[in-house]
């Protein structure tokens, strides 16, 4: 791959943290924490992304690091028993991960995630109940952090971000979806050292600080003004509408799906999925209607 130690450090950050967390738990230095994962007004893309985690992988997470209390897509229990298990965790310490936005129209009736005491349990009620009491709340994915796709124009369900309905600090992990390393690295940091360093928008600095444009492998093309004219070109896609310059995240280093690829490497521009405002503020995702390319250079 690469001999740069800084590069390797960044890639392995999540794995390092998880390994240390695992060994500390094994040696009895720290306890496994309880993790509740609520899928609300969203597409469940973030739990799918988490299952794609490689280094570390999902099995390590649920066997050696956390007691995974609840996730409606993955748990074995059903119906009443599942919801009862969920409500029992309120007596203990737990970390709450929320993916998906919160539909607020008609008092949240647009997103029902179960039944409690013979009444429908709305996403709105669930996040208020579990969010206030949690030790840490992590908003996973674009919809949870700022409304994302669920809140895109015209937003018929009146979906909002997790922070808008909670009166406490929420760690935000934007991304559509959130990369498994970003979530597991944050969780491991919480386990070992408590809440990670956050920037002024509550994103962990260890994953979200560098502008994608500043670590893009095609940056020299941008600096020299050598621009792609269509998808599939190997040069800078600024003229096609690449959102790399306004997105702070480490995709060029970490890449996706077992660290093999990412949009720009595959000759398609960045659409800014890990920046607040996605998708409405990042449109158009592709544009062929741009400024003239000067030919006499």
């Amino acid at each position: 791959m690469n001999n740069c130690s800084f590069y390797n450090n960044r890639i392995n950050k999540a794995a390092e943290l998880i390994e240390k967390a695992k060994s500390d738990i094994f040696n009895g230095k720290i306890n496994k924490i309880n993790l509740v994962w609520l899928e609300l007004t969203g597409c469940s893309g973030n739990i799918i992304s988490l299952l794609n985690g490689n280094n570390p992988d999902f099995t390590y997470l649920i066997t050696d690091m956390v007691n995974f209390i609840y996730n409606n897509s993955l748990l074995a229990a059903e119906g009443k028993f599942a919801i009862e298990n969920l409500y029992n965790i309120l007596k203990e310490d737990y970390v709450l991960a929320v993916e998906g936005a919160i539909a607020t129209k008609n008092n949240g009736l647009y997103n029902i995630i179960g039944r409690i005491a013979d009444k429908p349990l709305t996403a709105l009620e669930a996040v208020k109940t579990f969010g206030e009491k949690a030790k840490h709340v992590i908003a996973v994915g674009a919809c949870a952090t700022h409304g994302g796709v669920s809140a895109a124009r015209p937003n018929p369900s009146e979906s909002v971000s997790v922070q808008s309905v909670l009166n406490r600090k929420v760690i935000k992990l934007p991304g559509c979806p959130c990369h498994p390393d970003w979530f597991m690295g944050t969780l491991a940091h919480i386990l070992l050292y408590g809440e990670p360093e956050l920037d002024n928008l509550d994103r962990p600095i260890m994953f979200y600080s560098t502008l994608l444009h500043d670590i893009c492998p095609r940056r020299s093309y941008f600096d020299k003004g050598i621009f792609a004219e269509k998808l599939g070109d190997k040069t800078c896609m600024f003229k096609l509408g690449c959102r790399g310059p306004v997105t702070r995240v480490d995709c060029p280093l970490r890449q996706w799906n077992d660290y093999v690829n990412w949009p720009i490497k595959d000759d398609t521009p960045c659409i800014g999925c890990a920046q607040f405002g996605f998708p409405d503020a990042m449109e158009p995702f592709i544009n062929y209607d741009t400024t003239r390319i000067i030919n006499n250079e």
């Binding site: 800084f6 450090n9 960044r10 950050k13 390092e16 360093e197 920037d199 002024n200 600095i205 260890m206 600080s209 560098t210 444009h213 941008f222 003004g225 600024f238 003229k239 096609l240 509408g241 690449c242 959102r243 790399g244 310059p245 306004v246 521009p269 405002g277 409405d280 503020a281 990042m282 449109e283 158009p284 544009n287 209607d289 741009t290 400024t291 003239r292 000067i294």
Partner: protein
């Protein structure tokens, strides 16, 4: 903490401090000098003033440059990285974006220092 993580924290706080310092510099700034723009065929009017109607032509589409106006000054954002496809967080070029700028970049007016000023906005 692993070294790579410490560097991110330092860079982040440096960025915030530089941003903060820039505000003081901006307070002492005069109007930026107009730059040479003769590489574009459709050059700006000779007197370098724009009405809103003239400005609308420079929307970055169909080979036109992309200009935006903030606080009465017209800036060329054609090659500005944050204005890919002549759009920026849902805004289009060729318009007066004073209110959009102040509502989003409050306290960060130094961003304007890094832009290329090419004229002024006048009322018709």
């Amino acid at each position: 903490m692993p070294y790579a993580y410490t560097k991110d924290v330092l860079l982040n706080s440096l960025r915030e401090k530089i941003s903060f310092l820039n505000i003081f510099i901006l307070k002492n700034n005069k109007l930026p000098q107009n730059r040479n723009i003769d590489i574009y065929v459709n050059a700006a009017p000779q007197d370098n003033t724009f009405t809103l109607e003239e400005l609308a032509f420079y929307n970055g589409k169909n080979g036109n440059p992309a200009y935006v106006a903030v606080n009465g000054i017209v800036y060329d954002v054609t090659n500005n990285a944050a204005w890919a496809a002549a759009t920026h967080f849902g805004l289009t070029a060729g318009r007066d974006l004073t209110s959009a700028f102040s509502s989003c970049h409050t306290g960060n007016a130094s961003i304007l220092n890094s832009l290329t000023a090419i004229g002024t906005l006048i009322n018709e």
